[in-house]
Amino acid sequence: MPLDFTRSEALTFGVELELMVLNTRDFNLTRGASDVLQRLAKVKHPGEVKPEITESMIEVNSSVHRKYPELLAELRLTRDAIVTEAEKLNLAIAGGGAHPFHKWSERRIFDTERFQRVSQLYGYLAKQFTVFGQHIHIGVANGDDAVYLTHQLARYIPHFIALSAASPYYQGEDTSFETSRLHAVSAFPLAGHLPEVSDWAEFNTYFDAMAGHGIVTSMKDFYWDIRPKPEYGTVEIRICDTPLTVEGAAELAAYAQTLAAELLRNRRTEAIAPLYLVYGYNRFQASRFGFQAQLADPFAGARAHVLLRDDVIATFTRLEGVARELGTWSALESMRERARAERSDAKWLRERYTETKSLNDVVRLQAARWRESARAATAV
């Protein structure tokens, strides 16, 4: 039986943000998700806040939006509500892709049937999966568009990695990567990318085969970097670290929306195989070196490398027209400035460590940044 692809309005968008739940004593992750969620259930706030695999994570789901400023405004409200309720419980909330020093073995699996099952199946990988990502959903009209867009966005995965990178520290050490979070994702057997199918029908054949082997039962079993999400009628980009501020999160979503608009408008006809030939290499380069990554260009022939920073700037400049139409230009412009200066959240975290020499303090400042940009926003 084929997977039905729910129609949705093209280019509508929304985000999911996984957030850290911290104690305020040493800023380690703590068991607090269920208490925060219980309090939030009694408070009016936009979007949805849900549990995640361990008790130290919560997930924010935004509503569906057409415009970037609306998404930003909503995320600020949700953030304020979460921060206020968490403070009453003496808990802190922070962005960032991975907690810098927590021990994975100390995590508690959130008590739902699904999470317990995942934990049983995957063993330590499940607790190790206490990492914090941003997922961006872009609405598409049909399954064929979803497959097309998923393939084309693969070329830009390194951009999203570098722009969102916020997990240089892991298990108490500097990993030398801009984002260490992706390694937690890559460990799963069904991580990776969409196979080279050309339309929705072909994808269904693939899915049926996988289901027939008893390997998957739903789309959720694929831990791909980008995947079609037939239930929502979207393409879901899952590569980003949760940024240190909601402003950063909204900008990434604006970039995804603008890019999708341009890709759907000016359809690419090149073969998709070369995209995946360089995919793993470019993904590694971006997560290791950020803006300084050397990207292999799949269509420019042998030995053609381009600096990720230059590629990002060139892409933003190219998208200016579409961005102005969509109302996302301010977001892209601000990201272009950051790319020029090679400023990333990972860099910010490393600077804080150089200043304080303590990862506890880094997380404290991380939480303050998450919280205070909230207050600054409401004051404006």
Binding site: N23, Q38, K42, N61, T217, K220, K357
Partner: protein, 434 residues
Amino acid sequence: MVHVTREAKPPHMDATFLPTFPPTLGYPLLFGILLVAGMLGGEGARRLGLPRVIGYVLVGFAIAPIASAMDMSPLLDHTRIFVDIALGLVLFDLGRRMDLAWMKRDWTLAAKGVAEAFITFGLVLGTLLLLDFPMLQSAIAASIAMATSPAVVLLAVQDQRAEGQVTERALNLTALNSLIASILVTMFLASAHYEAGLEPETIVLHPLYLFLGSLLMGGVLASFGRLLARQIDRAPDLHFALIVGLVVGAVGLAQSLKLSVILCLLAFGLFSRNDEGKHDLLTVDLGRGSRLFYIVLFVITGASLPLTSFEAAGWAAFAFIAARAAGKFIGVFAFAMLGGLRMRQATALGATLLPMSALALLLAHDVSQIYPQFAQQLGTVVLAGVIVMEFAGPLAMQWGLKFAGEAEPDAPAVQSAPTPPPAAPTSTGAPAAH
């Protein structure tokens, strides 16, 4: 090679290299014995599913008669230094976990703390007066009843790796009630002085000196600690050494200045807590190091609990315990709902406030030094209460943390090959996420 010229052999053998008989017991041997025996007792208790503390205390019970039978009764006097260091570490750690900023943000927490402390005080006082105990003594006993055992609470949290709202609140409320209890005991000592017929200056000045002096010393030590911390690298092991050194030093200093060790160390911990803006001292985990002293503390506590007091106190001890427990639960429930705690959490929190141990013992001991009538009358009731709570308390605590779902769950048996998902070819509407 260097040749060492030997001295000429003495004409007859000098046996001074052999020990005298019976051999003298030094601190190291004593500490070692108490530690190993306590650890074994703790493990025994754990295997029976009981809190380790109970094992430590039972070892103490067992050691006490052996020690006196072997005519080593000064043993317990010698060990006082271990008790003081251990309590120093416990109170410092507890003070450090008390969060005034949180109490400011959520006033119901402070209200709950004050309510449970004073309702406990009131109920215990009323009960003791009904039983015809004298007013002043009853007030002192009621003050001691307010305090929850910091060592039992900290140890249970550590042992069960508990995390969450009940755990955090239990720690904060324990710090608060220990603080209020020691302040009240200090104040009632003023009246005791009065009854003892001391001159008016002493009546006012002694408690004042104890109270303000101890707070001041805690504050000065915290500032001193920060000052030193700024001179060294921000490495956890350096800060660990700094903190342990300061805590042990503080115990000694408080004793030589005749201040209240309890108040001093609680204040030191509280002022060392890194509130916004001050982050010179790292929040190092004293865990494994202080565990050594905790074990010895409980063994000695067990050894110094006079089982005879139980016979002397009789039913009054049970009335004392019951009134105390009622006070704790009523106080917590009164403000729990306002603070957004679920019934289940409030019940668990009430249970975690029940333990009574070394702190109560020490308070009773200090009072008796100055006010001997207390030891003869109500002191025995308090001690008998402590004996019961030494067992009931850790059990209540363990139950409370489990009931609240905050203790670490027992690891499920590892299945090497779970059954593969059913080979259904269609997607089912599984819940969202990922």
